[in-house]
Symmetry: C2
Amino acid sequence: MVETVSISKSLRQWTDLFMHQSMRGWNRFVKESGLTMAQFSVLMQLHYKKQVGISEVGERFGVSPAAASQLADKLVQADLIERAEDPADRRVKLIQLSQRGKKLVETGLAERYRWMDGITSSLDAQDKAKVAEALRILTEAAHSLIEAP
Amino acid sequence: MVETVSISKSLRQWTDLFMHQSMRGWNRFVKESGLTMAQFSVLMQLHYKKQVGISEVGERFGVSPAAASQLADKLVQADLIERAEDPADRRVKLIQLSQRGKKLVETGLAERYRWMDGITSSLDAQDKAKVAEALRILTEAAHSLIEAP
DNA sequence: CTTTTTAGTTAAGCGCGCTTAACTTTATGC
DNA sequence: GCATAAAGTTAAGCGCGCTTAACTAAAAAG
């Protein structure tokens, strides 16, 4: 055993620290936006999936379709999302981020990124290369695991 | 420029993927426990800080002392935390995790760790070493940044 | 020693999100 | 085509967490 610190332990330490720090900023940002966690989570879901139906939202958060519809209402009133009919099935109302919604999500992500950039920019070139490769390895491994459970 | 993928980008990709996956499991676990996010967050705060006063809880979540007190009540009734007088200042009621509280937090963390271990265990020895060192570098850099803003 | 400040609790009231139930509209089964 | 199912909306009602206000107990200030 050459490794003085096991990979499991180092990943846990990094994760604990990162989550602790990152969630603090995240909660603050969501609160400032005046939205509920659930509401903001819908915006994040739309950031990744572009368009989702109301039922999908409900299932994801374990609430009734009625609640999901009301949740969407709030976001439409705040001009953060838009409703659109699914041309393939006119019962389905697809929701998607509006311009304001996109901007809000990007601002939130930018805050998280700023903190991370502060860390990486404090490293020297050699460490940067090491870290970049290691993260690429981790990301790839995670992807394989998600796609082939 | 040797790096095909910049460190900023690789850190963002890993973080996006990790947060997406990890928060899904976390929300599920908190919901199953029957607790609010705020309530569970207090347990996490106690996991890291051992003992905190009621006012500290309120400040952290941006709620009134009254709300913090009521929040603590719920957790005491659920036998997840215990109240204790601060011997140095008897006005202060310190709260700390009970046995059940500790167990619940550890179970929650264990779920997150299990997913992470799944990733790391899929790597070969060489990649494990690379990743472990990179995460050590990152954690250290983050610590320096937090301690000396 | 008295006054003021601080930590926390309790009670009343309110806002808000979730649920159930009834309803509309569109799609599917036979 | 007609009946049934599915997606979403609307309304009424309820539970729950937060706030303000009044209060107790202990420490600090003077």
